[in-house]
């Protein structure tokens, strides 16, 4: 072996060694990324999963039909409050529906709604989620899972 060949040989061994152990090494040095509650919400099931992940008890309720939305919704109960969940075929359709909602949540296109409480509209994935009420812990968990409401007070 020529004298200059030794460092190259050692470099090769070190490189192969690191490559072989790559998964383990990167796994031990980089922080593990657990998705935040709501980060993966795309549809009804993933919303329920996200609520469970946020340690919230969820009860399935009845179906709900709103005259101003094109799809039927499902009610889930969170902290004993009704949350209305509307799932659209895709995000484009969801956005078309969401665009109809006035910023205060009292108008949808050419409909005026007299709510029993303050409306809060959220959108995430293929969903529009509606909560009518002001219960703090409900608003908090919805904020965690769905972000800020896009309409409502």
């Amino acid at each position: 072996m020529k004298p200059f060949q030794l460092p190259i040989y050692l470099l090769f061994i070190v490189t192969v060694g690191f490559t072989a152990c790559g998964g383990k090494l990167s796994g031990s040095t980089q922080p593990r990324h657990d998705p935040l509650p709501g980060e993966t919400v795309t549809d009804y099931e993933s919303l329920v999963d996200a609520l469970h992940a946020a340690r919230v008890q969820v009860e399935a309720g009845e179906e709900v039909d709103q005259p101003f939305f094109s799809v039927e919704g499902r009610i889930i109960k969170v902290h004993e409050e009704d949350i209305q969940v509307f799932q659209y075929p895709n995000v484009t359709v969801r956005d078309e529906q969401a665009a109809l909602v006035s910023s205060d949540g009292n108008g949808l296109g050419t409909a005026k709604i007299h709510w029993i409480g303050r409306p809060h509209f959220y959108k995430k994935g293929r969903l529009i989620v509606l909560y009518v009420g002001d219960t703090d812990n409900v608003l908090k968990v919805l904020g965690t899972v769905l972000g800020q409401p896009f309409a409502g007070k």
């Binding site: 309720g61 009845e62 709900v64 039909d65 709103q66 005259p67 101003f68 009610i75 009704d82 209305q84 205060d104 009292n106 050419t110 409909a111 005026k112 709604i113 007299h114 709510w115 029993i116 409480g117 409306p119 509606l130 009518v132 007070k153």
Partner: protein, 275 residues
């Protein structure tokens, strides 16, 4: 020459300042003007003359009859429009619209969060072509909302929307404005939010100040029952007095004809009559 130039500069500067002052004042005043308006999106019924008569299709149950009658009476006090209650054309559950008129419905629409919904259909000219009002008995059958105050307020407000009126105020927690177009936690107030107020009538006059070259309002056709009622004479023939206002000078009577048919009669008494 120099002096003159300076004077001009000062004048320009003063003009600029005055200009900014005017703009600032305009911005300060404008919100007040806009908040005073409760015209919903410029929507209105097209018609060729005032007052025009809008038909309210009665698809409500007996529990709502009196409230529909009172709301119709209240809104007909407007100088630009009258309403007349006619037989409904739809099932309350579906509450389908009919061209040129407003269908009023009540039903247990479910736990959907709303007491009432007013829906209008508009054409490309922002002219209302038809409307519906839905009243949700799922809530009105509960102790909280099964009160004359809530029923009057919501019936009045939803019908008001179908004329093109918006809310005057959407804060439920503040003092009542004395109009059904104001959100509240307590319809009785005081002041009561069960009926329109002068601001609503003034707004209607603004909305309907102009005339259109065509109409989207259906022709008012008197039902046989109403025609019969018009030939009747005397208080008793008009049935029960539901509401009296203006120191008894105006009155709303309801006559049950059986099989769910009712006739509402609005009476404006001449001085010295009606008592």
């Amino acid at each position: 020459m120099t002096t003159l130039r300076c004077t001009r500069r000062r004048n320009r500067s003063s003009v600029k300042k005055i200009g900014w002052l005017v703009i600032m004042l305009a911005f300060a005043v404008f919100p007040a003007l806009t908040s005073a308006s409760n015209w919903w999106g410029g929507y209105h019924w097209a018609r060729v003359g005032n007052p025009f008569t809008l038909k309210l299709g009665d698809n409500v149950s007996s529990a709502w009859d009196a409230y529909l009658g009172v709301a119709s009476f209240d809104w007909s006090l407007s100088s630009v429009l009258d309403t007349t209650i006619v037989a409904g054309t739809t099932t309350p559950r579906r509450c389908r619209p009919a061209s040129g008129r407003v269908e009023i419905c009540n039903h247990t629409y479910g736990n959907n969060g709303w007491l009432g919904v007013a829906q209008i259909w508009v054409n490309s000219s922002s002219h209302i072509t038809q409307g519906t009002v839905k009243l949700n008995d799922t809530y009105f059958n509960t102790a909280t909302y099964n009160t004359p105050g809530w029923r009057h307020l919501v019936m009045c407000q939803e019908i008001g929307h179908t004329f093109g009126l918006d809310h005057q105020d959407e804060n439920s927690g503040n003092t009542n404005l004395g109009t059904c177009m104001d959100y509240t936690n307590n319809p009785y107030g005081p002041p009561s939010n069960e009926h329109p107020n002068q601001h609503d009538y003034d707004q209607l006059e603004i909305i309907y100040a102009h005339l259109d070259s065509s109409t989207t309002v259906g022709q008012a056709v008197q039902s046989p029952a109403a025609a019969t009622n018009n030939r009747r004479d005397g208080h008793a023939q008009w049935g029960e007095l539901i509401r009296s206002t203006n120191n008894g000078r105006t009155g709303l009577y309801k006559l049950n004809l059986g099989d769910g048919h009712k006739v509402f009669t609005f009476v404006v008494w001449a001085d010295g009559e009606g008592s």
